[in-house]
Symmetry: C2
Subunit: 360 residues, 2 copies
């Protein structure tokens, strides 16, 4: 039995996680696995109920589960709280820290049925399937910062720290992932300027010897930002430090043209955290307009990366592709000539395909 902590959160979070768990349950029935779902409070709704955006009970639940499925947090209602009580800064960051997830996996893939949603030409993005592996706990975002008065104004100093061990653990994730995919890894850095990037490149180069079956190349971050636009299909797995990954994973996501479709995984050595890339979209919450596919695909990533259930994960991904090919669309990706369905309907269609291999 796999214990899954479900944290629906705010906005459309509850709607989309409901469909994700429904699809996971269907996959369990199909392939003979038992999933046990336990809900916890997080975000604004948790603050309203308990005064804390990340209550201790939720943390305890997550730590004692095998994996965590998160919906989304935040909304205008909580934007003016002190930073440490706001849903993002007060819940998401502490949760990642508590779970010590240091590798953020951001797939960017284009389902054939949706290739025209991209601003790029269809032939450039059709069949795109890349994963950005971003280091999540080090670098500039977590360095010491200070601001001081100087004549004529102020001066800010921030620091960026990386250690061999921090680079090794995320690089290993990327190599293992590359080995299971197309055996092609692009490590991104700015080694012509940054000392941290030179250490990064050395560590990756060393580790490459353990993975002779994986083709490794190194690319400067500014060139990578260009290459993602020029020819994104040249990539399979991209490995980057925290700040570069923040920028490049969002750029890669936008290439697909369907942000509402993209899942993510945050992995450490223990419990993994899975969540859609999209936000809580309070403007459409509760109206059956949300696209549950990002949450559903986050569930598939959980099966693959936390539980090693590759067959079930692939079945969910195939079901999503099939439902889209058959012309079903939620409001955000609706086009003329397609069938618009609700959040719940979309979840039901995918779940059915996963469980029976066909639509009823």
């Amino acid at each position: 039995m796999y214990r899954i902590a479900v944290l629906p959160g705010d906005g459309i979070g509850p709607e989309v996680t409901a469909q994700a768990t429904r699809v996971l349950a269907a996959a369990g029935r199909r392939f003979g696995y038992e999933f046990c779902f336990q809900e916890g409070l997080i975000g604004g709704i948790a603050y309203d109920a308990t005064g804390q955006p990340l209550p201790q009970a939720t943390l305890d639940l997550c730590r004692s589960s095998d994996a965590v499925l998160l919906g989304a947090v935040g909304g205008p209602k909580w934007d003016n709280l002190p930073v440490h009580l706001r849903p993002e800064a007060g819940a998401l960051l502490p949760l990642r820290k508590a779970l010590n997830v240091y590798a953020n996996l951001r797939p960017a893939m284009v389902f054939p049925a949706l290739a025209q949603a991209s601003t790029l030409k269809p032939e450039v993005v059709e069949g795109l399937d890349i994963v950005v592996v971003r280091e999540l706990t080090g670098g500039l975002y977590f360095g010491e910062k200070r601001r001081e008065e100087i004549p004529g104004g102020q001066r800010v100093v921030e620091t960026l720290v990386y250690t061999t061990q921090e680079i090794q653990r995320v690089a290993r994730r990327a190599f293992e992932l590359a080995r299971k995919r197309k055996k092609k890894l692009t490590s991104v850095d700015k080694a012509n300027v940054l000392e941290s990037s030179r250490l990064w490149r050395e560590v990756v180069t060393d580790m490459a010897r353990e993975y002779p079956d994986v083709e490794v190349n190194h690319m400067l971050v500014d060139n990578c930002a260009m290459q993602l636009v020029r020819n994104p299909k040249q990539f399979d797995v991209l490995l980057t430090e925290n700040l570069f990954g923040d920028i490049l994973s969002d750029e890669a996501a936008q290439l697909t043209g369907s942000l509402g479709m993209l899942p993510s995984a945050s992995l450490g050595d223990g419990v993994g955290l899975y969540e859609p890339v999209h936000g809580s979209a309070p403007d459409i919450a509760g109206r059956q307009l949300a696209n549950p596919i990002a949450a559903v695909l986050s569930g598939a990533l959980m099966l693959r990366h936390s539980f090693g259930l590759e067959e079930a994960a692939a079945a969910i991904e195939r079901a999503v592709a099939t439902v889209l090919e058959q012309g079903y669309r939620t409001a955000d990706i609706m086009e003329p000539g397609k069938h618009q369905v609700t959040t719940t309907e979309m979840g039901r269609l995918i779940a059915e395909l996963v469980e029976r291999g066909e639509l009823v």
Copy 2:
């Protein structure tokens, strides 16, 4: 009289600067300005002749000129020299430092005739005309760096420093530029995480009060990387710190699909430096295959930003657009049904249009 130092450099540098100066001379005749061109050595060719990639005589020439036009430097022949003798690290960086150019202007524009060269859909990029203003002398690239041994490996610490004054001087450039263009400035930062970005945002917000006619908005860098793909035409002038600008200016350049066409300007409070974005392309050097348009447009930027000759600058830009509309193409942008011309021919066509207003 305007004194222009011309540093052709390596690879295709001499071919393209020759056409740029030809076009500048034509603009001078048309509009009644006198330009005096004086050549200096830089890069690998300077190393071969003098043992230094940036000889003192070249530095003296640049400092005593009104502006500098650079071709390109570097090539495989010099790649294995010690870093301080290599063309890029030993010539370009010291030259920028010597001229104290702190604002790098990188226009990304799509000529209607070349819109299909982009990997983005024509309707997304047609008529694109944005400028990235990048801070060029501060931030992470120039901070102190150190590497130390720790148990189990090494640890690198780098520092990022920005002062109020460093931000003010580049921001002022961007505001002044925005005022002359569409009066729209997007300042890019990561103010939700970085203290330097919070200072950046404060300085820009303060300065905005002096420019009530300029519409200012602030955007996070990862969102900006997305928005450049989603809808690049929403932007006019983008202002960023050094590292973010390095990444975003290259991403923006790639949106155009025609890297061989893009000029740049590096400005301080004295002599400005103008150069094509493309490199020295040693593989095609000396074969009349190079596209001189980036160098020609760098000359137009010089007229605009160093000499304030807006009418002459605009005439050059219009001439380039016209020559392209008439179907003339260098090898790099050749398509079926167009007329392929040499580097020299392209320069002649543009110069003629600038001087006479028509092709002979």
